[in-house]
């Protein structure tokens, strides 16, 4: 093996790859199962955007909190939420992360610092400010991360949060996952600024844009702004330019996309392929090692689905529990 030119150890690289692959496999499987009619509700797949979640979460621990979006599976997996519990949840089973009450759009695991996927655009940003506030108040060095889509970046709750985080000097990072579309609408039309760096500047925040399909670019940029936040340097914005490989939600015919757009992205802009090429070409990791991980991950997801299908449904008594701590 040759020298490691990357800012992560071989082990950490393998872990990052495994996490990205787990997300991809999870999503591909949901895509298939949804098409078969096995999965109820609205499902938004993160496939294609893995480098963002994993590149950022590589810098976080359970004490750091993230507030996610409707497209939250990748954030959950990268933040360490149990994959089988997630699958159970999406299948609506009592073994799910939320005992079947939340579903795809509401997976949370507070112990892991995952404050919830969210069905409401922009709603996570104030919550992440709250996480940052708690961390700052306690002086525990924790950070809050708000993920937001390009479309949701036009939401008042998000915009207000930029100002609040700056005014209170909170350890909060606003990650704009710019995948070019909000549902069917183009970011070029819907977001009136030349770059998110300008929008950040409008709220006194440093902003940086990276290629969100490049794990290493995300990793380095996130590392810098996260340490700055930990050290009291305040909030920042990070724009990750990326692509989604499926429709807005499952069932989307995607006629708003260009002819051949997705095929082209799969061939040339797939963050997993790019990562694999980089680490193998550098001679740090072998294809065989990656293939082995692929196999293990495939097995894990297969198992997760099998167990989810076999798991019991929630029942009448579950309907009215957990509305309040006490009432």
């Amino acid at each position: 093996m040759s020298d490691n030119p990357f800012p992560l150890s071989r082990d950490d690289l393998l872990t990052a790859y495994r996490t990205m692959r787990t997300i991809r496999e999870f999503e591909e499987r949901l895509h298939t199962d949804f098409a078969r009619g096995d999965i109820p509700g609205f499902v938004h797949l993160y496939a294609g955007e893995e480098a963002s979640a994993v590149g950022i979460m590589a810098h976080l621990n359970d004490n750091d909190r993230i507030a996610s979006t409707h497209r939250g599976h990748g954030h959950c997996i990268a933040k360490g939420v149990d994959v089988k519990a997630m699958m159970g949840e999406i299948y609506g089973k009592s073994t799910g992360s939320c005992r079947g009450k939340g579903g795809s759009m509401h997976i949370a695991d507070i112990d892991k610092g995952m404050m919830g996927a969210n069905g409401i655009l922009g709603a996570g940003a104030p919550l992440a400010c709250g996480a940052g506030l708690a961390a700052k108040y306690r002086g525990d060095g924790g950070v809050g991360i708000s993920f937001v889509g390009d479309g949701a970046s036009n939401q008042g709750m998000f915009l207000e949060s930029l100002n609040l985080a700056a005014v209170w000097n909170l350890p909060v990072i606003f990650v704009v996952e710019n995948n070019g579309y909000a549902e069917s609408t183009s970011v070029d039309w819907a977001v009136a600024c030349d770059s998110y760096v300008d929008r950040a500047a409008g709220f006194g925040l440093p902003g940086v844009t990276v290629d969100g399909t490049d794990f290493f670019a995300v990793y380095e940029a996130a590392g810098e702004i996260i340490s700055r936040a930990r050290e009291g340097g305040g909030p920042s914005m990070l724009e990750c330019k990326m692509h989604r490989l499926f429709g807005h939600f499952e069932g989307d015919a995607q006629t708003y996309r260009a002819e051949g757009e997705v095929e082209n992205l799969r061939a040339n802009r797939d963050c997993l392929t790019q990562f694999a090429d980089r680490v193998t070409e550098a001679g740090v990791i072998t294809r065989a090692e990656l293939n082995a991980i692929d196999g293990e991950v495939a097995k894990l997801i297969e198992q997760a689905v099998t167990e989810a299908i076999a798991a019991p449904l929630p029942t009448q008594t579950d309907l009215t529990t957990d509305v309040y701590v006490s009432y």
Partner: protein, 335 residues
């Protein structure tokens, strides 16, 4: 001429006909055209469930996609209405009211009164309501009671395609702000719908079934559950009169009271959560106005005091069922 149309197509047709009739009618919302700025097809979506599909081809830029900024565009619709336009703004899911409620309840609803009568705000806000789509806690609420509580708003919730068309046309022509609630689980349900334009006046409930033993007052998707229950009950000789309120504000209490004077028994069915609900509202009015006619306690059948659960197994328990309605009727009839 009447054909069979789904509620979705009936709504589409109402928009189409009103846009054709009145150039002041414009339609806006997130992806209601779809594909704006994107490289592929224009008119790619026609709304998240395709309700406005095809209107762009006919009416062009009078349908406007918006950024994901409900306060701004719903407020803009309200502002344009105050300037003489008749905008129809889509708030995709009523659950999103929390990000734009001020423009609706403190602005549109109050202009006329606050300004001493010197304003009219003929805006329609369309939104999907209701459970059954496995869309979970933030995409499945009714929330009709919240809007009904607010003076200055009108609240409409059709139960079928025919009513949806007539009520939407009325809403667009109406000079007050209207919250038009479309139950997403009814989009596919079909009735005969005349192809010409027609209106259904506000504040006129529809007696969808006659019967002398018990009155059921309801609206939206619960009309169908109540009909199911009534069918079952009829087998045992219990005949229900079912009143579809159609508009919750204004509300047609006359029809309700008349029926209760006759049956002496009332079941209020509401898919909303129970506290301060439409069911409670109707029940309270009836027990005040028709006290002496009542032979038994009014029963309320509502969702439980919980958010809407995701799992189909739970959601099916959450939504008031024909069985629960039937057993409420049995309870009141046997009192």
């Amino acid at each position: 001429m009447a054909r069979t149309l789904s509620m979705k197509d009936a709504i589409n047709e109402a928009l189409d006909q009103e846009m054709t009739r009145d150039p002041n009618v414009i339609v806006m919302g997130e992806d209601i055209v779809g594909g704006t700025g994107s490289p592929g097809e224009a008119d790619a979506w026609g709304g998240v469930l395709g309700v406005t599909k095809g209107l762009y081809a006919k009416h062009g830029d009078r349908l406007m996609d918006t950024p994901l900024s409900e306060s701004a565009y719903i407020g803009a619709a309200i502002g344009a209405a105050a300037c003489g336009m008749r905008p129809v703004a889509e708030l995709m899911f009523i659950d999103f009211m929390g990000v734009c409620l001020d423009e609706i309840f403190n602005q549109a609803a109050k202009f006329k009164y606050m300004f001493g009568g010197k304003a009219e705000t003929p805006v329609v806000i369309r939104a999907m309501v209701g459970a059954g789509f496995r869309a979970a806690a933030q995409h499945s609420q009714m929330l009709t009671p919240v809007f009904t509580h607010i003076p200055g708003l009108k609240v409409v919730c059709p139960s079928n395609a025919y009513d949806a068309k007539g009520l939407l046309i009325q809403s667009i022509r109406d000079n007050d702000p209207v919250i038009f609630c479309e139950h997403k689980n009814l989009y596919a349900s079909e009735t005969d719908v005349p192809d010409e334009s027609y209106t259904i006046p506000f504040g006129e409930a529809n007696v969808v079934r006659e019967g002398g033993h018990c009155t059921i007052v309801t609206y939206g998707a619960m009309v169908h559950k109540s009909m199911e229950a009534a069918k079952e009950l009829a087998k045992d000789g219990v005949e229900c009169e079912i009143i579809d309120l159609r508009t919750l504000s204004p509300i047609d209490m006359d029809t309700v009271l008349e029926s209760v004077e006759n049956t002496g028994r009332l079941v209020c069915v509401d898919e909303a959560n129970p506290r301060c609900s439409i069911a409670a509202d109707v029940s309270a009015s009836v027990s005040q106005e028709a006290f002496d006619a009542l032979k038994a306690p009014i029963q309320m059948v509502t969702a439980p005091h919980t958010p809407v659960p995701f799992s189909p197994a739970l959601e099916d328990l959450y939504i008031p069922s024909a069985e629960r309605i039937a057993s409420a009727v049995r309870k009141t009839v046997s009192h």
